[in-house]
Symmetry: C2
Subunit: 311 residues, 2 copies
């Protein structure tokens, strides 16, 4: 096929910047950045001029693919126009993730679902992506019964502005935070992790309990995980499974800094859950929330869609 015409909507944000970098690294040359009127006319990436993300521009019919990394309300407003214009859309907001009929895709876990789309494929939450990459091989081998996860999420997950706030803050003021909106007795992040992992793994009843916490780290999310399995699985067996899992790398110390700017989900601390006997494992993972946790996963989805167009 001809060089795909790619629009990056939300190109001036933290994830948008990584998206532009990864597209350039992968050799895509027909890339157009879009953002709000405020940023239109500025340049991003390798000297690309930002266009205003208007319904008309997105519906004009000159994009094969549109990668959205804007807020939920902006996605709800703009994505339908890009679809109307004929672009295949990968949306990174939570706007469409749980919509029936819209695929929610981690290519290593359920990549085949990407092709079952009517114009939109949703990209999961930045914690759900690495979590499902690690859970999938364990489920296939021994069956997931219960999952508990406590997160250590960097401020870049809340956007570029929060990164600047952390840089400007005195270290004495650094703190943990639960700076999401609330959904009953949980943060919306906690209910997203559960609902999205259930959808991606196609285990709609899987019990998942999450506690999400923001830590004063710029880039890289980590997760402390307990899994209970239907069948016994030793830490050695789990390690062997994870060593061959796609996009997963087993390491001794999976920290956000070690994961930053890599394409991998780092996983380690794989051991018996001393509170659960032979059916329980404990793990710890880290992942660059802007790369595999967001921009890279969306580009991987896009490449599944482009392959279809090419075939």
């Amino acid at each position: 096929m001809a060089e795909p015409r790619i629009g990056v909507v939300g190109a001036t944000g933290a994830v948008g910047a990584v998206t532009l970098r990864l597209l350039a690294e992968r050799g895509y040359s027909d890339v157009r950045p879009f953002a709000s009127a405020r940023s239109a006319g500025t340049t991003v990436g390798d000297g690309l001029r930002v266009e205003e993300a208007t319904p008309e521009a997105l519906a004009a019919g000159d994009l094969d693919l549109a990668l959205f990394s804007v807020g939920t309300s902006a996605s709800l407003e703009l994505v339908p126009h890009a679809v109307r214009g004929g672009a295949a859309v990968v949306d990174k907001s939570s706007a469409y993730r749980l919509e029936p009929g819209i695929p929610l895709v981690v290519p290593e876990v359920n990549g085949g679902r990407a092709l079952e789309n009517d114009g939109i494929v949703a990209n999961p939450n930045c914690c759900t992506i690495p979590l499902t990459c690690v859970l999938k091989p364990l489920h296939d081998a021994a069956g997931l019964r219960r999952v508990r996860v406590s997160t250590y999420q960097s401020v870049s997950g809340a956007g570029a502005q929060r990164m600047e706030q952390l840089r400007a803050q005195a270290v004495d003021d650094h703190d943990l935070a639960m700076d999401w909106t609330w959904d009953g007795d949980e943060t919306d992040e906690e209910s997203k992790i559960r609902a999205e992992a259930q959808k991606i793994l196609e285990l709609p009843e899987l019990p998942i309990s999450a506690t999400t916490v923001r830590v004063p780290v710029l880039v890289g999310h980590a997760e402390s995980i307990w899994v209970e399995l239907d069948e016994p699985l030793s830490p050695e067996q789990a390690t062997a499974l994870l060593r061959t899992a796609p996009s997963v790398q087993v390491v001794d110390a999976p920290t956000p800094r070690a994961a930053a700017q890599t394409d991998q989900v780092l996983v380690g601390r794989i051991r018996r859950d001393r509170a659960a006997g032979e059916s329980g494992l404990v793990l710890f993972l880290a992942c660059d929330n802007l790369v595999k946790g967001a921009a890279l996963n969306a580009i991987q989805i896009a490449e599944l869609l482009l392959d279809r167009v090419a075939a």
Copy 2:
């Protein structure tokens, strides 16, 4: 009784400094700071001159109470001399915590055990103290079956030098760490939390699984906790129990900064464990690791011992 003669051994460290401050606030006036030869002769607290912590000085017989906050090897070397000199010792290192016959005490949980000592009472790990303050009322009401905990520990738990390192570090380099020594497939911190909580709660078989993580916060530890109980206990019932528990304060957002410099264990996020049904709860706590997590708890133990002397 006369004003107790109190020695603070390790007076120049992060916990020692807080110990001196709390003793002064509580009106103790006969307080002598001890430290290594390197610090002897300097002044600490309110102009107190530091003495060298030699075996002879500690065994001289002129201390009623010795509060140790030094490393494990220094405690093993020096504590017996203070005991020989007739001082009641509260030791904050891990040297004696798991020794049979040596009480390991959180006054709100098992204060009565403090009096069953032969000269030494051990002060628990800075994560174990707040954890047991929260677990005890839940156990008394519904019976603990399993505990899982993931920690968010500040760098002050690793000493004053690590605090200076964090202050000097660029925010871009802030990271999570598991900077403890290792004990098989766990950090020694993880096995300490399990073994110490089992001893304090007098539940030697209680299954506890911990993952300990250092976060780039100066002061204040937090813990993400899942408990499974023998009997159903609603989040509302647990909240009511914790509201009346000593040294526990129920809050919406238990963060290290909110807990810093307070005497309380802050607990919140109390909700149903969606992975466990009616027998499971999720909680989050924060506590000043230098105050209730260390210096204050040791002073509370000392006051139980001084009461005995006074009686």
